[in-house]
């Protein structure tokens, strides 16, 4: 809402505050002032001039030589505007004047003729292009005849005004009018304001003899009032009115339209004028539209209507979409002489639907949608009649023809001082509360510390105790509330074990050299299903998609974070940042339904992506690119952190390198995967060798919780033994390790590969793997003999299960 300070000042005296102070007061009592700006850049030295004569410039076809009376003198001015003419009163920038952009006016010569000033267009005076009335769009501005020659054009054009922009929250639609703003400001500064009474003189003719009103759906349209004004002369509206509309951001059109818009701004009540002679009947019927019914609106668009839209018809044809926009057919035109003026109350939700369906949000629909003041509907009609009589030559017919089932009663809200103080933490007296209601102009009956308050209908937002509490608090001043701390029983705040573990896991990854990223959960349908861990893929029936995405790129919920992590790597590599290690902890969304009806499972996972050099220390010739074992090492560190052994098994996954990818399992359950991204995908993303991992953090946290922690440190010595085995090259280290662990149970506590060899001294297709075994019994010292027995059992097992031979 744009509020002209000059206009507001006319309603309520705010002159004792600077504009900034006023803005601060309004903000602190309840409506945020977003800005205070001058309507135009500063302009000086512009006065009203009378064009005594206007002749063609002797040396230029398109220029005119004007003699302009500016009061104290007559100036010769060369003017190029096409619309300049003798007898006009125009804004003249006299020598020494300063126009926007610090443009200084000097005496000069144009094509050999003296020019002592400039006749100005509104644009040259700093008026925004969109606010300039059409007739002056391509030339100079022309004042109405009644202005005084020599007068200050800047104030006549209201260019010295300031505009206060209010950011209205949805509940404060009462401030969508100058009257509403004035009531609010009066409460804020403890001033006085009351909306002035309308003053309409009517002729003897009865409105009811010329029009009747039928409302078919009283719930959607509880009040419809029709006034008739005849003898209208359509023309420009008075300058002051045009100025105010401009200040409010509404472009002046003609007196009839301007008056309805002016009353809309003044009262907050939208009105509509129909050309009586073009309406097509003398009966106004408001009804629900028929599905598929068509009408052409003021903007010359053909609109297809639906049965939830309300229309104003002549009994047959729709002439307006109620509260949204009028029809082209009965639009007021230059030759219009008689109008039907509509003042109505439409149901907010009905207007909202229609305005949404047609994509039409107007000053009118905005107000109806929020609910207009039922006690101002008819008054706004009367106010428009008054102005039409005064500024459009209109004769107002006697009486309003209406359908009226409108509830105009005031809501009653009871509050008492002690509850107010209990809720606010204050100590406000009965007197102070009474004074707050006086400032708000709310009537009340007081009974001790109980107040029965009648809420004026302009404040439709106040219906319950808490609403009234806010009114009291804001006028009392939020600044004046004390600072206290909650008194309830204190509880020890803290993180749950899950939250702690999540933080621990993140801290681990960061300590291991990974940077945390946050990517979007909504991704492209294709990406959502890429690089998904096998156990997630198994569970997910179909990815969860938005019903109406804004773009395909963010239309589906991810089943894996890996694709977006790769995207982030790719983004960085394209910017020459080539050595990267990222991780993300976040949720993926798994639905076990073909068509989603239930909330999907949101699974917490940790994913990582690594590319480029892992270590580079050139002067000592150390350099290591990221490889499978770097990625696996990060997972092993996590396994160590959580004290949960991970096992790995080779696997094949789409978009992953077929020979360098493994599933990750804990206690026999697959919880994720690790490996190299498929070279084809790497190439597509502009990446060098890139490794990723993705594990289910929820399972890890669950398993962690099951584990018995804090084992005692063994007091008895352990025994370590090595074995070197020769096996076929396709036998995995992991499988031998598993055999050793099984056969060596319970004495073997740890198995580590410490050597891998292939080549000379070994047969083709064979490799040698060396393991270090740790034997330990935490409760006693082991005897050589039992170690020997277990060791032999292990050798038997690897021989039989893996055809392994002891390496000599």
């Amino acid at each position: 809402m744009l509020v002209s300070l000059n206009w507001l000042q006319e309603y309520i005296d705010v002159s004792r505050y600077s504009p900034e102070e006023l803005a601060e007061i309004i903000t602190k009592t309840g409506i945020e002032v977003e800005s205070v700006e001058p309507v135009a850049e500063e302009v000086t030295g512009v006065v009203v001039g009378y064009v005594r004569s206007c002749e063609q410039h002797p040396n230029a076809d398109k220029l005119n030589l004007c003699q302009v009376d500016v009061g104290e003198e007559t100036l010769q001015i060369v003017c190029g505007a096409p619309n300049v003419a003798e007898g006009q009163k125009v804004p003249v920038a006299t020598p020494g004047a300063v126009l926007p952009g610090n443009f200084k006016i000097k005496k000069t010569k144009l094509r050999g003729e003296e020019s002592n000033g400039m006749i100005c267009s509104l644009q040259e005076l700093g008026v925004d292009e969109k606010d300039v009335p059409k007739e002056f769009a391509d030339g100079i501005f022309v004042f109405p005849e009644d202005v005084e020659v020599g007068a200050n054009a800047v104030s006549l054009l209201n260019l010295d005004d300031l505009i206060i922009e209010l950011g209205l929250t949805p509940n404060r639609s009462d401030a969508l009018s100058m009257a509403g703003v004035a009531y609010e400001v009066a409460a804020a500064i403890d001033g006085t304001y009351e909306l002035a009474e309308e003053n309409v003189k009517t002729c003897g003719e009865k409105t009811a003899d010329h029009v009747s009103v039928v409302v078919e759906d009283s719930e959607a349209n509880p009040y419809y009032g029709a006034f008739i004004i005849k003898d209208i002369q359509v023309g420009p509206s008075p300058l002051w009115m045009r100025n105010r509309l401009t200040a409010a951001g509404i472009r002046p059109i003609n007196n009839v339209v301007d008056i309805t818009n002016y009353v809309l701004m003044e009262y907050g009540q939208p009105l509509h004028a129909f050309d009586y002679d073009r309406f097509g009947s003398h009966t106004i019927v408001t009804r629900r539209a028929k599905d598929g019914e068509k009408m052409t609106t003021l903007d010359d668009q053909e609109r297809t209507l639906k049965s939830d839209h309300l229309v104003i018809t002549n009994g047959e044809k729709a002439h307006a979409i109620a509260g949204v926009m009028g029809g082209a057919e009965s639009e007021v035109q230059d030759d219009t002489t008689t109008i039907i003026l509509e003042a109505a109350f439409f149901d907010p939700s009905v207007v909202r639907e229609a305005s949404k369906d047609h994509g039409l949000r107007s000053e009118s629909s905005t107000r109806f949608e929020k609910g207009v003041d039922p006690n101002r509907v008819e008054r706004a009609g009367l106010r428009a009649c008054e102005l039409l009589a005064k500024y459009a030559g209109g004769t107002v017919l006697d009486g309003v023809v209406s359908h009226d089932e409108l509830d105009r009663s005031e809501k009653q809200v009871t509050v008492n001082t002690s509850t107010i103080n209990d809720r606010l933490g204050t100590d406000i007296s009965n007197e102070d509360i009474a004074d707050i209601f006086r400032r708000l102009q709310f009537n009340y009956d007081q009974n001790g510390d109980e107040f029965h308050v009648s809420v004026p209908t302009r404040r439709g937002d106040i219906t319950i105790f808490e609403d009234m509490l806010e009114e009291v608090a804001r006028i009392y001043g939020y600044d004046n509330l004390p600072y206290t701390l909650p008194q309830g029983a204190s509880q020890a705040g803290g993180l749950t074990l899950e939250q702690l573990l999540k933080r621990k896991v993140k801290a681990y990854f960061e300590g291991a050299g990974l940077h945390e990223t946050i990517t979007y959960s909504l991704t492209h349908e294709d990406k959502a299903q890429m690089l998904v861990s096998p156990e997630v893929k198994e569970k997910s029936v179909s990815p969860v998609a938005l019903a109406m995405p804004m773009s395909e790129d963010h239309g589906t919920l991810r089943l894996s974070m890996v694709p977006e992590l790769l995207e982030s790597l790719s983004y960085n590599v394209a910017r020459k940042q080539e050595n990267l290690a990222f991780y993300e902890v976040g949720t993926v969304f798994i639905s076990e339904e073909e068509k989603v009806t239930k909330q999907p499972e949101e699974m917490l996972r940790a994913s990582g992506a690594l590319t480029g050099e892992w270590l580079s220390h050139p002067w000592q010739q150390e350099k290591k690119s990221v490889d499978f074992f770097v990625a696996k090492g990060i997972l092993e560190g996590l396994s160590e952190q959580l004290d949960l052994p991970f096992s790995y098994e080779k696997t094949k996954l789409d978009h992953m390198h077929p020979g360098r990818t493994a599933t990750v399992s804990v206690n026999g359950k697959v919880i994720g995967f690790v490996g190299q991204v498929h070279p084809k995908l790497q190439k597509q993303l502009g990446l060098k060798e890139t490794y990723v991992f993705d594990v289910n953090l929820e399972v890890l946290i669950e398993e962690y919780k099951k584990e018995e922690k804090f084992q005692t440190i063994p007091r008895h010595p352990s025994v370590s033994r090595d074995i070197a085995l020769v096996v076929d090259e396709n036998v995995t280290a992991g499988s031998i390790e598993a055999t050793i662990a099984e056969a060596g149970s319970p004495l073997v506590k740890d198995v580590q590969v410490f050597d891998l060899y292939q080549g000379e001294h070994l047969d083709e297709g064979k490799k040698s793997l060396a393991f270090r075994l740790l034997y330990l019994d935490p409760l006693r010292t082991l005897k050589d003999q039992e170690v020997e027995e277990t060791h032999n059992a292990i050798l038997e097992a690897v021989k039989s299960q893996h055809q392994a031979e002891l390496r000599g």
Binding site: E32, S35, P348, R423, G425, A473, Q577, F589
Partner: protein, 344 residues
């Protein structure tokens, strides 16, 4: 004999002094202190001495031995030290050469901010609650006093999955769920951080996904002044003790009365500048007293229980605190951006 012993001592000490290697010292030791050495010989000839002389010479011979041994030991240590010194000198390195790098990662700026806020409120006795990002219409809207068709639903155009499911538009449903689980009798004191989603086109100030952190306290006799006190404590810790706070009226469907909190502008100290649009204040969060309809829907009797709630955007806080100028930076994961804020 006395003279002979003194002479031997002189001689031996001189040789010790002249020795320039460990081996040389060893030779001196064998020569003088060995079983066949001259001192032993002297001792052997003691039988010829008188009863009175014998102990005197014996004592002297022992002293000489001791003396020589001591000298050898001292010299030995000196020689070893010199050798080590020389070796270490040869091992000297250029300490200004670059170090072998240690990989260091770090948290995302938003995580740092969220955890900082979490920890501040944990210190005030709040617990952390989390909830689903795909929410039901009921918890996202209805339970928060936003029935179907409510005009304020326009304020946050949302991504629906089905008619009843949507990407949550705020973390408030976690509040509704937490309250609902309490049977209307226990107090609630919680903070809920998380990702939220709105139908916005991504640009410098809008993001279809962003972060929110909200707080809720429900108990008997919770006052609006408590909200003011808690937010003040939070703001001073988060933004600095020298920052002023101001509350002003606002509107949210789930609170009444509602507030917006501003903190004094750090750039201009409250005088007004371009950062604060000339007002001297910067909007930081919204909140208010929990609307009675919200309490009632969660099973609390609003006559007996009251509460306050508030919410803020970590992205906005990061933008203000660290001068991040484009919200998209948080989701692009440019390594240069990520690294910059690891110390944040």
């Amino acid at each position: 004999m006395k003279e002979r012993l003194e002479e031997l001592q002189q001689e031996a000490l001189k040789k010790v002094d002249q020795a320039d290697s460990v081996q040389g010292l060893k030779d001196v030791r064998v020569e003088y202190l060995g079983k066949k050495g001259p001192i032993t010989e002297v001792l052997r000839g003691m039988g010829k001495l008188s009863k009175e002389e014998r102990p005197v010479i014996g004592q002297l011979a022992n002293d000489v031995r001791e003396h020589i041994a001591q000298a050898i030991e001292t010299k030995q240590t000196a020689l070893e030290d010199a050798a080590l010194e020389k070796q270490l000198e040869e091992e000297s390195i250029d300490v200004t050469l670059p170090a072998r790098p240690v990989k260091v990662g770090g948290p995302h700026l938003l995580t740092s901010i969220v955890e900082e806020i979490e920890d501040l409120f944990i210190g005030m006795g709040f617990e952390i609650k989390e909830g689903p990002e795909v929410e039901t219409d009921y918890y996202n809207f209805e339970a928060l006093n936003l029935p179907k068709g409510h005009p304020a639903r326009d304020m946050q155009d949302s991504f629906y999955v089905t008619e009843e499911l949507l990407m949550r538009t705020h973390t408030s449903p976690v509040q509704a769920r937490t309250m609902g689980a309490k049977d209307g009798s226990e107090p609630v004191k919680m903070i809920c951080p998380g990702k939220v989603y709105r139908r916005d086109t991504d640009d410098a100030t809008h993001s279809h996904q962003f972060t929110q952190i909200e707080g809720l306290l429900v108990d008997k006799n919770v006052r609006m002044s408590d909200l003011k006190g808690v937010l003040n404590a939070f703001a001073k810790q988060m933004f600095g003790a020298d920052r002023e706070i101001r509350l002003r009226p606002s509107f949210f469907p789930f609170t009444e009365p509602s507030v917006e909190m501003d903190i004094s502008c750090k750039v201009c100290g409250g005088k007004g500048c371009s950062v604060c649009k000339g007002t001297g204040w910067i909007e930081i969060l919204g909140g208010g007293m929990v609307h009675p309809n919200v309490l009632e829907m969660a099973g609390y009797d609003p006559k007996e229980y009251s509460g306050f709630a508030f919410g803020m955007g970590p992205e906005r806080i990061a933008m203000l605190k660290y001068g991040v100028d484009d919200i998209r930076h948080f989701y692009t994961n440019d390594i240069r951006f990520l690294e910059q804020y690891h110390k944040a």
